[in-house]
Symmetry: C2
Subunit: 409 residues, 2 copies
């Protein structure tokens, strides 16, 4: 008897009809003899509605209270889903973050899971119940309600799958049926991948692919949780498996690049002519980090006459806050000034094949250059190359790269 974790996204739970379909699918799995643990997202649009409501009070809203408000979305959907399953004749029970309990740190709206007490879940599963856990939410050690950030329900699912040593973690999506070489909305010939490695998925997620939350993939990799990204309502359609690199590579043969991804949630900030002394970077990035802002790329140019310029990117949603902090630090450091641009995007190539193939970056730069797209910043890792470009060229750049590396069907 296997244990299957199934996570359903908000569009899969958008209304009672859809919730019924999801419940029926859960019961199909249960009927096969497997234990089922379900993680529910908020009904489509609900989280946004609650954020809007909060923002019309004050923007940004108080973070602690925002988490109290937004976590209610998953509370409602988990209760409704458990109710629906019971109404169809199968025993079910819902658990909230404070009941499971999913203990997190205190970083409101982007909390990290510290510990999961799985006792209640195990007991309920042993009693033959289908367990529905509200995604996205947890509590800190003090019992304050926290949330795990956008897409946090993926993380809830993977973490529970890891702790409970589940045989598979199925992430059901309503808007996509798997992981594609790029956004099919931009490239018509985007191709669905059968398998992808954790690392590639991780890069794609952190580079803007909205299919999976990056932290969920990280967690899955760490604990070797096999993820299956699947379409809701089509039980016979295989989606994409996210698995160990060896397993993924066996499938991919000599494919070098797995996908092209982009991220428009990007802004850059430059602090100009700052005295080039040790400790400057720490002075700037410590207060930014303390605010929970994740800095992605950092570029520091060669020091001239004891001064240096430092440019970095942050999620556009944290732009205002990061800019305010940078301006304060710039004053302290007697820098010449601060410039910023929140109309940039990042396009990236991802592929484990890069480890063994050279020349990928230069082929990428040439392809962009042929279209006259200026590269503002560059960042590379073992399995990806990212370029920051003007936001308006995003789609053009994605199509150009998808073609240049023959990723289409």
């Amino acid at each position: 008897m296997a244990l299957i974790v199934q996570k359903y996204g908000g569009t899969s739970l958008a209304n009672l009809d859809k919730i019924r379909q999801v419940a029926e699918h859960i019961i199909r799995t249960k009927k096969k003899g497997d234990d089922v643990l379900v993680v529910s997202s908020a009904m489509a649009g609900e989280t946004d509605r609650l954020i809007r409501l909060s923002r019309s009070i004050i923007d940004p809203p108080d973070e602690r209270e925002l988490d109290v408000v937004t976590s209610s979305g998953e509370q409602v959907s988990s209760g409704l889903l458990a109710m629906m399953i019971k109404s169809l004749g199968y025993d079910a029970v819902s658990f909230q973050g404070h009941q499971v309990r999913i203990i997190t740190d205190n970083a409101y709206s982007k909390a990290r899971i510290v510990k999961i007490d799985d006792e209640k879940i195990k007991k309920a599963l042993l009693n033959g119940k289908i367990v529905v856990v509200a995604g996205f939410q947890g509590v800190d050690e003090e019992g304050n309600v926290t949330t795990l950030g956008r897409g946090g329900s993926d993380l809830t699912a993977v973490s529970l799958a890891a702790v409970l040593k589940a045989d598979a973690c199925e992430l059901y999506k309503d808007d996509v049926d798997g992981v594609y070489t790029t956004d099919p909305g931009i490239c018509r010939n985007a191709r669905k991948l059968k398998k992808i490695s954790y690392d590639e998925m991780l890069e794609m997620a952190s580079l803007g692919s909205k299919v999976l939350q990056a932290r969920a993939v990280e967690f899955a990799k760490k604990f070797s949780v096999p993820i299956h990204v699947r379409p809701t309502g089509r039980p016979d359609t295989e989606g994409t498996w996210v698995v160990e690199e060896e397993e993924a590579m066996a499938e991919m043969e000599d494919i070098v690049i797995s996908g092209v991804t982009y991220d428009k949630n990007q802004a850059k900030i430059t602090i100009m002519q700052v005295p080039d002394r040790p400790g400057i970077a720490a002075k700037l990035f410590t207060p930014i980090g303390n605010e929970g802002i994740v800095v992605d790329m950092i570029v520091q140019n060669v020091s001239t006459e004891g001064y240096t310029d430092m440019t970095f990117t942050v999620p556009r949603t944290d732009f205002k806050k990061a800019l305010r902090i940078t301006e304060e630090v710039a004053k302290e450091l007697s820098a010449k000034g601060v410039t910023s641009n929140n109309h940039i995007a990042m396009v990236s190539l991802v592929g484990v094949g890069m480890k063994t193939h050279s020349g990928i970056a230069s082929r990428m730069f040439s392809a962009l250059a042929r279209e006259g797209i200026n590269i503002i910043m560059i960042s590379t890792s073992e399995i990806k190359v990212s370029c920051v470009i003007d936001e308006k060229y995003t789609e053009l750049a994605v199509r150009t790269l998808h073609d240049a590396f023959n990723l289409g069907e």
Copy 2:
């Protein structure tokens, strides 16, 4: 420095404008130098919406999951209210039932408060914060989410006021500005009472007056919590104080009756020709009680030929369940059958003056008889007389009694 507990009803928190007005009023109180503990109801219509949603899955919905779903309403409003107070420059923090913690028994949808850990609240108040507690909800010893029943936020407020020994428990209403001699919607000349005793308020609440939840009044009486029922948004308007009998009586002089109340949430069930043996009542009312159904009146007629008829009333919302149980028991007991009527109402006279004045009941029966209203069942207590009548005569009966006892202005 006093501690004031303020509870706001759903219509007082119906939208962000109203939430702002409430926040401003809370801050006015805080500015006077008092500590303020606020209890929030769900935004108007939200609880009903969540119940409707649940009932369209299955009616009645699973009770445990219904509480998970409905408690989200107060979670959202408490978060928004705390956010609003902070946005106006005063420190505030929200607490849910599982955080405070408000420990209840396991009777979903009508749980009773067992214990309140007030440590977190005390600490927050000491730190100068305005504390907002989500009304209506608690958790049982196992951490399951429970709710306290309709109007349960009143109970949350009074319980917290009792535990924290608050100087006053202000219950703000948007639809009424105090307690009236009867429903002003039915009698135009209904009069607002300045003071009323706990016992009278208790009778009025349990007899259908929707101003206060009966259990909240019970609790207030037990712990001598002075309640002030006040209109939202009119800080200078005095409402009605609910206080000890001596204090209330001093005000009332020789008024015998304080009010006329009615309850349409009534249904009656008769089990016919049941063998008249000891233990019959227990056989019937034990399973009904086990389902958490509150039986109000019970009438048993004189036994003839070893058989008896037994009629009792239950809240109309529990009618189906009670009828099903009664039919099962009737079969077991070989009773002749079961009849029922869920189109009845109860009208009642309430007044502590009854203790010292006789003839109230007969004046009531005469007044109803003059209007041709048939009395189906009668029940009396020290300070009230209730008659069950055909539902269609409810308003007529209320007006008749209000006039007959000169309760108008």
